[in-house]
């Protein structure tokens, strides 16, 4: 316990400002966004992540966006365990044939209104795997995708920025 307390005091707040130039823009957008999310999604935007055959790097970066340094939660964006709790589906990977059914079922079990986001180059068009015999290719051919977050893998900053600017645009 003593370690924990000492560490808590010594470490202080680690949460990072999102780049000096952008930070003002995004962090000032914070309250506005919170308001927006509160209005539109009933307090907070809940995202369900689904791996349709990615290599795991995108997952690692999405998890990193939730760590204390980037702390996506402070904008009211949370990752949830069940599609039934989700407003948005975040899909990574090039859609392996084995995951096609699970992808559709996950989307179907989400309550309306709902939307789909893709992250990573594979999810856009199959990326490096697009010529494979076992890859369905773009998530967009299967589900209606409204936002793509580019990168291999997209860094946590890119993920946060894309999500925030998308939500602002939608306002």
């Amino acid at each position: 316990m003593i370690h924990i307390l000492r560490n808590r005091i010594l470490k202080g707040v680690v949460t990072r400002h999102i780049e000096p130039g952008l930070s003002r823009q995004i962090e000032s957008a914070g309250p506005e966004l919170k308001l927006l999310i509160r209005k539109r999604f009933g307090r907070s935007l809940h995202i369900r992540q689904l791996d349709s055959g990615s290599c795991g790097a995108c997952e690692s970066e999405i998890a990193a966006a939730n760590n204390p340094i980037y702390d996506l939660g402070r904008f009211g964006i949370n990752f949830v365990a069940s599609p039934r709790h989700a407003d948005a589906l975040l899909v990574t990977g090039p859609v392996s044939k084995n995951m096609c059914l699970a992808l559709k079922k996950t989307y179907e079990s989400m309550p309306e209104p709902k939307f789909v986001i893709t992250a990573g180059d594979c999810a856009l068009n199959g990326g490096i795997f697009k010529d494979s015999y076992y890859v369905e290719g773009a998530v967009g051919n299967i589900l209606p995708v409204v936002l793509h977050i580019p990168g291999c893998p997209p860094s946590p900053l890119v993920i946060i920025q894309s999500l925030l600017s998308f939500l602002q645009k939608g306002a």
């Binding site: 992540q49 791996d51 939730n66 090039p94 494979s132």
Partner: protein, 525 residues
Amino acid sequence: MDSSEVIAGIKNKIPGFNALSVSRDYPDEITIKVRAQDFKDTCLLLHKILPSSVMMLFACDERGDSAKFVINSVFLNLKKSQWIIVSMDIPQDDPCFDSLAKSVYSASLFEREIREMFGIEPKGNPDLRRLRLHDEVCPPDNFPLRKDFQKMDPGQLSEYKFDRVEGVGVFEVPVGPVHAGIIGPGHFRFSVAGEPIINLEIRLGFTHRGVEKIFEGKPCRNAVRLSECVSGDSSFAHSLAFTQAAEKIFGVSVPAQAAYLRAIFLELERMYNHVNDIGGIALDVGFSFPAAYASIIKESMLQLNDKLTGSRYLKNVNTVGGVLTGIDETKKQMLLRSLKSLKKDFSELTKILYSSVSFMDRVDTTGLLRRKTAEDLGAVGLSARACGIPMDLRKYFSGVYKEAGFKMALQESGDVLARLRIRVLEFEESCRLIEEFARKLNKDGEITSELKPRGGSALGYSEGWRGPVLYWLKTDPTGQIRRCKVVDPSFFNWQGLSYAVLGNIIPDFPLCNKSFDLSYSGNDL
């Protein structure tokens, strides 16, 4: 042991044994070509006398050149730091061979893989279910790794048959493929009687993308990017094993500077993954402070990777013949400074964990994998070292590790705590190794070698953070890939997980799972 000794050893036990050919193309690789009828006995014998589990067993489609399939089986001779490849031809009009699975369990999954990908029947294998081409999606008689495969043919779909435990009070709990966290997809079917798990069947293959087929026809240099995407958290270990195989074929030796750089990057990858898992283990017992603490350390390591190489996951760093990014004096100083503060943070983290009685109580004796089971399954890497199997390629194929005085971490108990301790020890050792290697860097040294593509085949390997990553590569004279067989350590160790959870309760499954932290995509390919 040179090749003649191996042959003498085999002849000693199998009278009348006659190898068709024996070659030693590389100092660390012996290839023994045998008649199809001798293949099984030779493999069983090598398994016993080395001793070694089946490290790889795979087929190649050579019907275009010589009207036959070739099957290679790879064994590891740790004492002599050598790989022994046993090879046989199979006629194309009767594609079958005698199964090893009943005598050597570690061959079992490989045989199933050969059957589904090539349509070569392992006669006598008791379990012929497909691993990656799911019965619900892919009709039978599609063999994607055959050279004449074009696209999926339609056919009758069927259903996968799970092993079932029946009896009064036995419940089945299916989980997945979509899990509650931000992780990969896999299906777990638990059979429980009361609280304890009495059987776990793991069905994987959900992230199958046909990686081995995509490798084919690519020039080696372009394929490095693909090897990085086989398993995203081991991208450097994979690209290292791949480039090493290509370098062996092309006869290139990597400049000394590049060898040190590669070792540094490999250790960095190990460190960020180990600390991630330590945090994950803490999180899965509900101890969130150290979990958050570990994720801060991981993030600072990823940022360090980014500053050193321009990639948080060390992608685009390796190339055939060397590395693309060097570490200059300023970067080196930054690396050493960061290591110092990482070490301090890390020791705080371990102090918090080790001094929490309730945490230690949860991880001690949980998820026990016994040494005998691990040996039978052919478990490798971290999970094997945690149950007392001294196996680390960095020790036995040492290269630059020898001069740095590498010390292998070893634990005996085989539970979650042992795997945690291995991670802690390896993290600290990696810190020390990187400091050693960084001292050897000088700014003027070459970091890439010129290369001339050639035809041939070779085995590349690296000790990634999960365990040995193996690539067997065959190229044509222009350096294009004919066949690339990838084995990620997860392929062996998923089996270990299904034994480690027995007797535990389902709520402890995430903890056991995280303590192995196996790759879905590396297994599914």
